[in-house]
Every structure is written in structure tokens, then in C-alpha cells.
């Protein structure tokens, strides 16, 4: 079971990652690499398992556009935190292709990237690093809540006359509560 963080709460969820050659289990939650999904889309959609796609750095999310309405989850992998391709993949998926399902960050991203990922359209986080879990449990969300780039993924308040400036609604509710 992995710990998943979503909408301010934690839960456990099981996803089996299958590699390119492994057999796909007949049931359960299965995460299939993008290339394999494309190659086997038809047989996979006949399976009783719930299928989600794993987007790795270097994958082009445009390739799965036609399948998005069948996918309840797309996972964006961060094998290395310093490889920022997943930020664009998530954002393109959410904003350009209008994907409505869950976009999950998986892999070795660091705490400071979580708020950025959220703004790029990531809606849930599989947590593998204990210090990230501990920080999120303490309610940490290390970001600057005044933004200078509008994004389409998260609702934010306009700030002043600059059309690119936004305020986090997170902070205004938090500040209002104080």
C-alpha cells in the first residue's frame, strides 16, 4: 500500500506497476507505461483491472489524448527530482487537453516541488519519502502564495491589475481564519 495525499488528506491505495514485458493482472489497479498502453489499448480496455497510464520523462502526453476519457488516473513519474519534464506533462494534460481525472505525481520529487506540481495540475501525490510525509502531516506547504503566472489547474484569485498576478485561495482562507 502506498500513502496518497489528496485534497489535504491522506489515504492508502494500491497500484501495481507493470513493466513493458510483465503480464497485466486480471484485476486490481494497474499502472501501465504509456508506450505499452498505446500498443495494447484495446486488450487493456477489455480487462477487469482498472488501468492507469504512467507518464515517464520523455513521453509525449499528446499520444494519449484520444484515451483520456477512459482513464481515471494518469501518473506522472519523477525518477529524479531534478528532471522537470513532468511539470510540463501535467500542465499540458490538464490545461491543453482538459483532462478531468486524477493526475498523480509519483517518484522522488521533493517537498518544495509539491506546491508547484499542484499548480501544474497534479491533484494527488504518492509519497515515498518519509520526510515529505512528515512535513505534509504537519501541514507544511512551502511556497510563495503570491503567484506571477496564471495557471488553469487551480482556482486562484486575481491580484490587482496585472493579469498574470494571482493570489492563492489557500492563503486567503488560512489568513482569514487567523
Amino acid at each position: 500500500m502506498s500513502k496518497i495525499y489528496k485534497n489535504g488528506a491522506f489515504h492508502e491505495e494500491d497500484w501495481i506497476r507493470v513493466a513493458s514485458e510483465e503480464p497485466v493482472p486480471a484485476s486490481g489497479n494497474v499502472l501501465v507505461p504509456l508506450a505499452r498502453y498505446l500498443a495494447e489499448a484495446e486488450s487493456l480496455s477489455g480487462s477487469d483491472a482498472s488501468i492507469a497510464v504512467l507518464v515517464s520523462p520523455g513521453d509525449n502526453v499528446e499520444d494519449i489524448v484520444a484515451h483520456l476519457d477512459k482513464l481515471a488516473l494518469v501518473a506522472v513519474d519523477f525518477p529524479k527530482f531534478s528532471d522537470g519534464r513532468g511539470f510540463s506533462s501535467a500542465r499540458v494534460l490538464r490545461e491543453e487537453f482538459g483532462y478531468k481525472g486524477d493526475i498523480r505525481a509519483v517518484g522522488f520529487y521533493i517537498l518544495d516541488q509539491i506546491p508547484l506540481l499542484r499548480r501544474c495540475g497534479v491533484s494527488s501525490f504518492e509519497i515515498v519519502k518519509p520526510e515529505v510525509l512528515a512535513a505534509l502531516e504537519k501541514g507544511e506547504w512551502p511556497e510563495v502564495t503570491r503567484y506571477l503566472q496564471p495557471v488553469g489547474a487551480v482556482e486562484e484569485a486575481p491580484a490587482g491589475t496585472r493579469p498574470w498576478a494571482r493570489l492563492s485561495l489557500r492563503s486567503s482562507t488560512a489568513e482569514a481564519a487567523e
Binding site: S88, V92, A135, R146, P150, A159, P163, W164, L167
Partner: protein, 552 residues
């Protein structure tokens, strides 16, 4: 200049808090050094040979006297009494302690300054023409656009973990003083036939190990599309730029390997998707930001001034200063003054706290409180009355900043090299100092005329040696430093990459070699008006090779 509103002030204050917390987590071990590294770099904190180095952003090189005084204060309080102006119009402090950095950032935030994105694999400080808003040849002030780009690129959620660093430069004049063609994105302000403002866009310029001149991707990008188009370029780069080899990760390699036409098509396709979205710039907003950069009210004055002329006739040092360190101003009776940070035999770009305070005081007294840092590591007072130049000169003399050598052979750009930099293969500062001493005589420099020497202490080319008229690259072989010379580089509107002239020279020989090149030029130039670069472009490298190596 731009003034922070409450939002901007809150932004830098919060950023400082965020960084403080990152330092805390590093010290407590929650963050590994590997994880902390990109975070501290994104806030300008480098680990150098002997200590941390903090690079403070001076957006497009513009600052006021209050900010300059703060930099002086930081040099005095947290460093060893000096700072170093860089080729990205920033300032670096070479000796702060890690523990002091949050405090320094707090002090900077008090005067609307920060260290955001002065290093790391993100969009760096946007640079602009240092005579912006003053130059006689300007189409429009590039700084409002630089400011808009600065804002959009600050803590960008999508582009904070790029394959490599990303540099943007913008010029508002046809004569390019911002070296836009050697940037990842270079923007040249222009007007179309309808008289509308827009940009010529270059992509994929850069120096480093594989120097390349930027390729033109747009003849005219409308003003309102500036951010959407930039975002399209960055998205394509973030997704497709190489990440397997840090030396092949800049966008110039992507341009080169993908091919210009294909990449251009990718950028245009991405642009088409987002062009009419939230990033489109409304005219009112551009005009509102432009208003921050409105020039100070300057009275139209006579083109000449009696006392100024008299002083010029009587004082050779003043005449030399006037000949080289003044730039024509758009308002008659005014000039922009270059304060040389290249004293003969000194360290290029270094300024003491006392000098910074004095520059601030002079700017207040005579320069409408405006100061610029040039990418040539000098300081500029953009708006000065011609009649005030003698008084300014006197104060500069007293402060040891009156060298009349702007654009001359002793106005050398040098990277920190082996004296500070952990990556260096050779020293660069001492070579600059020795060249400066060799050619430092006022008559000699004036006789040689415009000549840009640029020195890097390793192949990473921070000293921009590829675009020096004479470039010097410090390398190492069997434990010995040696210096490779390139000729014919340039970073203006006719950019070119210098060519290696032949085998390198030892540290002892290199200054003699430069002298041989200079003497060769003096012997073959068609007239005093033909600069070193023009002469080189006319005759090619044969005469210089012959002089250096003889023919076999």
C-alpha cells in the same frame, strides 16, 4: 524605475521566509545537500572554492542610490568590504556565511531586492541595454518588457527545473548593447510598417563549450504575445531539451540537433494553443508598467557647455574620460556617463563599499537617482547634464573610479577564474591585471582605440571570451596554466564567434602575445578609424598568425 507594490513586497518577503526554512531543513538534515543544491542555487547561493558566494539580482541592471547604499552596507557588514559586478548586470558577494544569508536577503527585501533565480537551472535575471531609456538611438525603452518577463519568470511553477540555465536579454536600440544574439532568447525591439511595437526574436544563442549565435525565429512578434510566445519556447525546451549531458542541455543544442525549421514549428504549434489565453498582454497593463520607467524630466539644454569645453582643453585626463566614457543622450545637453570599474591593474568589476556609497551619492546629486550596471561590468549614470560632468569627474578621481577607458583595451571582462571559482582551470583576474598594466598608458590606449578583451578561466566561458575581439581562455595542461587566444568575436548586432588563432601561450607569454597582436593591428590598419575588429575582418588571421608564430 519599477516600484514594488504590496503584492511584490509580499512576494519577496515570503520568498525570504521560504528560503530561511529551506536553510533550516538543510541544517537539520531533512534536505540532503543534493536536494538543497537546486533550492539554494535558485536563490543565488553558490558553493565556491573557499566559501559560499551570494549573487544578488539587479534586474536589467537598474538600481537607485538607496539600493546601491544597501549593497555597500552588505559588503561592509557581511563580506570583506567589496562586491563584484557581473556580466549579467548582477552583483556577487564572495564571502558571506550560510547562516547570514537569510539576514542578507531580509536586508535586500527592505529595498526591493532579492537573489531569486540568479543561478540554477531556471530562467535567470533578464538583462537589457544599460543605456535603456537614455540612448539617442533607442526605438523604445526595453525595461518595461524586461520587468514583465522578470515577473512572469519568477518562481514559475512549470519552469523551475529546466534542463539547464536559461538567459533572456532584450535591447531597445538597433545598435545592440545587450548581446541578445548570445542568449537563449534574444529580443530586439522593433516597429512594423503599421508603427506597432514588437520584437525580433532570436533563440539558441549562447557561449559555454559550444558557442553559438542565436537563430532568428520571428521577424515580428507583437507586443501582446511576449509572454505567450516565451512560455511556448520554454515549454518546448523543458520537454525536449537534453538532460543526459549537462554540456548539451542548453537550448542552443536543441536548436542545433532538431533543426531550426522543425523547432520553430514546434514553438509555433505550442504558441497557437496558448496565444489567446491568460498570458496575452493587455495594452493598458503594458502602458501602466511602462509609466514606472518614464524618464526623469530633463530640460533641453545647449549641446555644448563653456566650462566643460574649457576643462577638456586644459585637462588631458578629463579629455580622455570625455572621449570614451560618455554616451549620447536623447535629450540635448545631456549624456550617459560610464564609471569605469576597471582601474589600471585592478580587478575588473570589483567595487568597495566606499565606492558604492560614493556612486550612490553622485547619482543622487547629479543623476536623478538612477544607476545602471552594464554587462561589461561597469556602472552607468544614465541621465547627466553635460555641464555637471566636470564635477562628477572630480569626485570619481577622488574615489579612484575615473579611468577614461570605456570600450578600450583595459576595459577587460574577466570571470573570477582560479582565484574564486571551483571549476576554473586557470587564473583570469591576474592576466587581466597584467594586460591592463601593460597597456594602461592613456595615450597608448587611446591610440589603440576600441578593443574588447574578454577572459574566461575555463571552458564554461563566463568571461565571454568567444565574443571578445580578442578572447583569452585559460586552460591547464600537466599542471601548468596556458591560454588560448581567439580573434574576431563580437556580441553586438553583427555577432560572431572568435576563431582560435593557434597554439596557446603560457602565463608568462600571454601578455607579450597580446602585445604582438595589438602591434600587428596598429601596423596594418588602414586608418585610425579602422578598429581592431574591422581590420581583422578585412585582413583575416594570416598577418596575426604570422606575427605570433612565424611561418614554417
Amino acid at each position: 524605475m519599477y516600484r514594488y507594490d504590496e503584492f511584490d513586497q509580499g512576494f519577496v518577503t515570503q520568498r525570504t521566509e521560504q528560503f530561511k526554512d529551506q536553510v533550516r531543513r538543510r541544517l537539520s538534515g531533512e534536505l540532503s545537500e543534493e536536494e538543497f543544491k537546486p533550492l539554494r542555487l535558485m536563490n543565488g547561493l553558490y558553493l565556491q572554492l573557499h566559501a559560499y558566494m551570494l549573487r544578488v539580482a539587479i534586474p536589467y541592471g537598474t538600481l537607485n542610490s538607496r539600493q546601491m547604499q544597501k549593497l555597500a552596507h552588505i559588503a561592509r557588514t557581511y563580506d570583506r568590504g567589496y562586491g563584484h559586478f557581473t556580466t549579467r548586470q548582477n552583483i556577487q558577494f564572495n564571502w558571506p556565511s550560510l547562516a547570514d544569508t537569510p539576514k542578507i536577503l531580509e536586508e535586500l527585501a527592505e529595498v526591493e531586492m532579492h537573489a531569486i533565480q540568479t543561478s540554477g537551472n531556471c530562467i535567470r535575471n533578464v538583462t537589457a541595454d544599460h543605456f535603456a531609456g537614455a540612448a539617442a538611438d533607442e526605438i523604445a525603452d526595453p525595461r518595461p518588457y524586461a520587468e514583465i518577463l522578470r515577473q512572469w519568470s519568477s518562481l514559475h511553477p512549470e519552469f523551475s527545473f529546466l534542463p539547464r540555465k536559461f538567459k533572456i536579454a532584450i535591447t531597445g536600440a538597433p545598435h545592440d548593447r545587450a548581446a541578445v544574439q548570445v542568449h537563449d532568447i534574444g529580443l530586439q525591439l522593433t516597429r512594423n510598417e503599421a508603427g506597432e511595437t514588437g520584437f525580433v526574436v532570436f533563440v539558441g544563442g549562447g557561449l559555454g563549450r559550444t558557442p553559438m549565435i542565436g537563430r532568428k525565429v520571428r521577424d515580428f512578434l507583437p507586443e501582446e504575445d511576449l509572454l505567450a510566445y516565451s512560455e511556448a519556447i520554454l515549454r518546448v525546451y523543458n520537454l525536449y531539451g537534453r538532460r543526459d549531458n549537462k554540456y548539451k542541455a542548453r537550448i542552443k543544442i536543441l536548436v542545433h540537433e532538431t533543426g531550426l525549421e522543425e523547432l520553430k514549428a514546434d514553438i509555433e504549434a505550442e504558441f497557437a494553443k496558448i496565444r489567446y489565453g491568460v498570458l496575452r498582454l493587455p495594452d493598458e497593463e503594458v502602458r501602466r508598467i511602462e509609466a514606472y520607467f518614464a524618464p526623469p524630466p530633463l530640460e533641453v539644454l545647449p549641446e555644448t557647455d563653456g566650462a566643460f569645453e574649457a576643462r577638456k582643453a586644459a585637462d588631458a585626463a578629463f579629455a580622455q574620460f570625455v572621449a570614451h566614457n560618455l554616451n549620447p543622450h536623447r535629450v540635448p545637453g545631456h549624456v550617459s556617463v560610464t564609471i569605469s570599474m576597471k582601474p589600471i591593474g585592478g580587478i575588473p568589476g570589483d567595487a568597495t563599499d566606499v565606492q558604492m556609497d560614493e556612486i550612490a551619492a553622485i547619482a543622487k546629486a547629479y543623476g536623478h537617482d538612477e544607476i545602471r550596471i552594464s554587462h561589461e561590468q561597469n556602472v552607468i549614470l544614465p541621465h547627466v547634464k553635460l555641464a555637471d560632468v566636470p564635477a562628477i569627474f572630480d569626485r570619481l578621481v577622488a574615489g579612484g573610479m575615473a579611468e577614461g577607458n570605456s570600450g578600450l583595451i583595459t576595459d577587460i571582462i574577466a570571470c573570477p577564474g582560479m582565484d574564486y571559482c571551483a571549476l576554473a582551470t586557470a587564473r583570469s583576474i591576474p592576466v587581466a591585471q597584467r594586460i591592463s598594466e601593460r597597456f594602461g598608458g592613456a595615450d597608448r590606449q587611446a591610440e589603440i582605440g576600441e578593443l574588447k578583451i574578454k577572459i574566461s578561466g575555463c571552458i564554461n566561458a563566463c568571461g565571454h571570451h568567444h565574443v571578445g575581439h580578442i578572447g583569452i581562455l585559460g586552460l591547464e595542461k600537466k599542471g601548468e596554466e596556458f591560454y588560448q587566444i581567439t580573434l574576431g568575436g563580437s556580441a553586438n548586432e553583427n555577432s560572431s564567434i572568435g576563431e582560435i588563432i593557434g597554439r596557446g601561450f603560457s602565463s608568462e607569454e600571454v601578455v607579450d602575445a597580446i602585445e604582438t597582436l595589438v602591434d600587428t593591428y596598429l601596423g596594418l590598419r588602414s586608418s585610425k578609424e579602422e578598429t581592431f575588429l574591422d581590420a581583422y575582418r578585412r585582413v583575416g588571421d594570416d598577418p596575426f598568425k604570422e606575427a605570433l608564430y612565424g611561418t614554417g
